[in-house]
C-alpha cells in the first residue's frame, strides 16, 4: 500500500469513527449554549440507534430508520426539557434519569432483534471527480450521506450561532436569561428548541452507529458514546468548528485502538483508550477555558425563573 493510500484510508476511518461524536456534540453544544445541560445524551443516542435499526428492519428503508431515530431522540429530549426548563428540576439528575430510561428502553425494544442483519444499510456515495483526488478524495469524498451531512452541518451551525440573530438570541439565553427576557426574547422557547435540536442530533448519531458504522444491533451498542459527547462539548469550548476537530481526533483514537490490536496489546487495555482520552481532553478543555477566558455559558445548568412584572 502506498503511503498516499494509507494516509487517505487513515483519515477516512477517523472521519467515519468521529461522525457519531460530531453529530451528538453539535446538538449538545446548542442545548448547553442555551443554558441547558443534558446528561441524557447516552440514553438518547442508544434509543436512536435501536429505533433506527428496528424501523429499517421492518420497512426495509434505512432513511425511514434515520428519520425515526432522530424523532425518537427528539422525543426523549423533550422529557428532559419539560423537567428542567418548565419544572426547573435539577438538570444533572434529570439527565441521569433519561440515560437510565434510554438504556432500559433500548434493550427492551431491541431484544428480539439482536443478531438479525439489516436488509439494507446506509451505503457510501462517491462524489464524482472529487473522490478521485489523491488522499483527499479518499478521506473526504467517499463517505455515506450522513457523514457529508455532519460535515456541512458543523459550519452551518457555527454560522448560525455566531453570525445570525437567532444565534445571538441562543447565546444571550445561555449567558444572561433575565436580560434576554427583558429584551423580549422567549427564553423558554429558545431553550426548548435547542434541547430538541440536541435530541434530534443524538438520535441521528445513534442511527449512524446502528445503520452505518457497525451496522448491527447489540445490547449496549453505544458503550459510552453519549458520555464522550458530553466531554467533547467542553473540549470544543461550545464551538461547532472545534467540535469537528475534537470528534475527528477521537475518531483517530478509535482507529488507533483497532490498529494496535494486531501488535499483541490486550484489546481490553486498548478499549480504555477512548475513556482515558476523554478525561485528558476534558483537562485540555478546562485549561483552554482558563487561558482563553472562554467559560461555559454562564447560565448553564441554572433554571430560569421569570420575575413577576406588574
Amino acid at each position: 500500500m502506498s503511503w498516499q493510500v494509507y494516509l487517505g484510508d487513515l483519515l477516512y476511518s477517523m472521519i467515519r469513527a468521529g461522525t457519531p461524536l460530531l453529530l451528538g456534540t453539535l446538538g449538545e453544544i446548542y442545548a448547553e449554549r442555551a443554558g441547558v445541560l443534558n446528561l441524557g445524551v447516552e440514553g438518547m443516542v442508544i434509543v436512536g440507534a435501536v429505533t433506527g435499526y428496528v424501523v429499517t428492519l421492518s420497512t426495509g428503508n434505512p432513511w425511514l430508520g434515520v428519520l425515526a431515530a432522530a424523532i425518537s431522540g427528539g422525543a426523549l429530549s423533550l422529557i428532559h426539557a419539560f423537567l428542567s426548563i418548565t419544572l426547573r428540576a435539577n438538570q444533572v439528575v434529570s439527565g441521569l434519569a433519561l440515560t437510565m430510561l434510554g438504556l432500559g428502553l433500548s434493550s427492551i425494544i431491541g431484544r428480539i432483534f439482536i443478531g438479525i442483519p439489516l436488509p439494507s444499510s446506509i451505503t457510501p456515495i462517491e462524489i464524482p471527480i472529487l473522490s478521485k483526488v489523491p488522499i483527499i478524495g479518499q478521506a473526504l469524498f467517499s463517505h455515506d450521506p450522513l457523514v457529508y451531512f455532519s460535515m456541512l452541518l458543523a459550519p452551518i451551525m457555527w454560522f448560525v450561532l455566531y453570525k445570525t440573530r437567532i444565534g445571538i438570541k441562543i447565546r444571550a439565553v445561555g449567558e444572561n436569561p433575565a436580560a434576554a427576557d427583558a429584551a423580549g426574547i422567549n427564553v423558554y422557547m429558545i431553550r426548548y428548541i435547542c434541547v430538541f435540536i440536541g435530541g434530534l442530533l443524538s438520535g441521528l448519531a445513534g442511527a449512524y452507529l446502528s445503520e452505518s458504522y457497525t451496522p448491527a444491533w447489540i445490547e449496549n451498542l453505544t458503550a459510552g458514546t453519549g458520555w464522550i459527547i458530553v466531554g467533547l462539548t467542553i473540549f470544543a469550548l461550545w464551538n461547532p468548528i472545534r467540535a469537528m476537530l475534537g470528534s475527528y481526533l477521537f475518531g483517530g483514537v478509535r482507529v488507533l485502538q483497532f490498529r494496535l490490536q494486531p501488535l499483541g496489546i490486550s484489546p481490553n487495555l486498548l478499549a480504555m483508550l477512548p475513556y482515558i482520552s476523554t478525561i485528558v481532553v476534558l483537562l485540555i478543555g478546562v485549561k483552554e477555558t482558563l487561558r482563553k477566558r472562554i467559560g461555559a455559558p454562564s447560565a448553564l445548568g441554572v433554571p430560569y425563573v421569570r420575575e413577576e412584572r406588574e
Partner: protein
C-alpha cells in the same frame, strides 16, 4: 394558552415528604406497568408474581438481603458525596476496584490466617475504591473538571480493567480457559448464614457504616462543612472551609465504601474475579436512586436498599418466570428518578395552571 406557574411554598413536613416518595415509586410502577402491557404481559399479575417470589419466599428474602448489602454500602457513601453536591456516578467502578484489590490480596498474599487475610482484603478494597474516587475529586477541586463525566469514564475504565485481568495476567491456571481467576483460598472466604448467600461480616459493616455516616453527617464539624460546601461552594471558601479537603474526603468515603461492597461480593459470593457484569448487577447505578429516594438520609438508605434489593431480585424473577429482560429494572430506575424530581418540585412549589385567553382586538 395554558401557562404553568410555580409559586414557592412553605417547607414540607416529613409526612408530606414521605407521601411524595411513595407517589414516586407508584408512578414508576405505573410507567413500567405500561411498558409491560405493551410487551403483552399483564402488569398486575406480573407484580403479584414478583412480590410473591421476592418477599413471600425464603430464598427471595435472603437474596434481597444479599443485594441489600452492596446497595447500602454504595448508597450510604453516595449520601456523603451528594450532600457536598458532588455527582459521583462512579460507585460502580469504585466497587469493581474494591473487588480487584480484594481478589489480588486473597490470591497473592500467601498462607495467611483468616483473621489477618479478611481484614486485609477489606482494607485493600476500601483503599482501591477510595483511590478511584479520589482521582475525580482532585480533578474537580483543583481544576474544576466536571466530575460527572470523569466518574462515568472511570466506570468504563474499571470494567475494562477487570476484563483485562481475567483474560490476561490473572486468568486462572485451573479454569480450563474460562475468563475467571482461580478461586480464592478458603481462609479468604466469608462465613454465610447457612442455606443462604448472606455474608454476615459485610452486612454488619454495611449497617455499621450507616450509623457511622449518620453520626458523621449530623454530629461532627465535617458534617457541618459538608452542608456548607453543598449549599454554596463559593461561600464555603470565604467561611474558611477547605473546598479541597471536603471534596477529597467525601469522595474517599464514598469510593471507599463502594470498594468495601466490592470486597464483600468477592469474599462472600463469587470467591473469584469474573466478568464485571456478574460481579455487580449495576449496584453502583441503582445506589444513586437508593440515596435519592432516601433524601440523602443515611438511616433511610437501609430502607430504600431493601426496596431496591427486592427490585433487583424481582428483575431476576421476571426473567425466569416471565421471560422479560432484566433491563426492565433500568426503566423502573429511570422513571423513579424522574418522578422523584417531579415530587421534589411539588414539595417546593405550588403549581398553578393559568388559562390565558387571547384578547380580541
Amino acid at each position: 394558552m395554558i401557562e404553568i406557574k410555580l409559586e414557592k411554598r412553605p417547607l414540607p413536613s416529613r409526612i408530606e415528604a414521605f407521601t411524595y416518595s411513595v407517589i414516586s415509586v407508584v408512578f414508576a410502577l405505573a410507567v413500567s406497568g405500561a411498558i409491560l402491557k405493551v410487551y403483552g404481559v399483564d402488569p398486575v399479575s406480573a407484580y403479584g408474581i414478583i412480590v410473591f417470589h421476592v418477599f413471600g419466599s425464603l430464598p427471595g428474602i435472603s437474596e434481597t438481603i444479599v443485594k441489600l448489602i452492596p446497595l447500602t454500602l454504595c448508597g450510604v457513601g453516595l449520601t456523603v458525596a451528594f450532600r457536598a453536591r458532588l455527582w459521583n456516578i462512579g460507585a460502580e467502578g469504585q466497587l469493581l476496584l474494591g473487588a480487584i484489590a480484594a481478589t489480588g490480596v486473597a490470591l497473592f498474599s500467601g498462607d495467611l490466617p483468616s483473621y489477618v487475610l479478611i481484614p486485609l482484603m477489606f482494607l485493600a478494597g476500601f483503599l482501591a475504591g477510595a483511590l478511584w474516587g479520589a482521582i475525580p475529586a482532585l480533578l474537580k477541586a483543583v481544576l474544576n473538571v466536571n466530575e460527572v463525566i470523569v466518574t462515568t469514564m472511570m466506570n468504563y475504565i474499571a470494567i475494562e480493567l477487570v476484563r483485562y485481568l481475567i483474560y490476561g495476567p490473572w486468568r486462572g491456571a485451573k479454569e480450563w480457559g474460562y475468563p475467571i481467576t482461580d478461586e480464592i483460598p478458603d481462609a479468604a472466604k466469608l462465613i454465610c448464614i447457612p442455606g443462604t448467600r448472606i455474608h454476615i461480616a459485610t452486612l454488619a459493616i454495611a449497617v455499621a457504616s450507616v450509623i457511622l455516616i449518620y453520626i458523621l453527617i449530623t454530629r461532627t464539624t465535617f458534617g457541618f462543612e459538608l452542608r456548607v460546601v453543598g449549599g454554596n461552594p463559593e461561600a464555603a471558601k470565604y467561611a474558611g472551609v477547605s473546598y479541597l479537603k471536603i471534596v477529597l474526603l467525601s469522595m474517599i468515603i464514598s469510593g471507599g465504601l463502594a470498594g468495601l461492597a466490592g470486597t464483600g461480593e468477592i469474599a462472600g459470593i463469587h470467591y473469584r474475579l469474573r466478568y464485571p457484569e456478574s460481579i455487580s448487577m449495576g449496584y453502583g447505578f441503582t445506589a444513586i436512586i437508593v440515596a435519592w429516594l432516601a433524601r440523602l438520609n443515611p438511616l433511610l438508605v437501609l430502607v430504600t436498599s431493601i426496596f431496591f434489593g427486592g427490585l433487583l431480585v424481582g428483575g431476576y424473577v421476571m426473567k425466569i418466570m416471565l421471560g422479560l429482560p432484566v433491563a426492565m429494572v433500568n426503566i423502573f430506575n429511570g422513571s423513579t428518578l424522574m418522578s422523584l424530581l417531579l415530587c421534589e418540585l411539588l414539595l417546593q412549589y405550588k403549581i398553578k395552571f393559568i388559562v390565558k385567553r387571547r384578547e380580541m382586538h
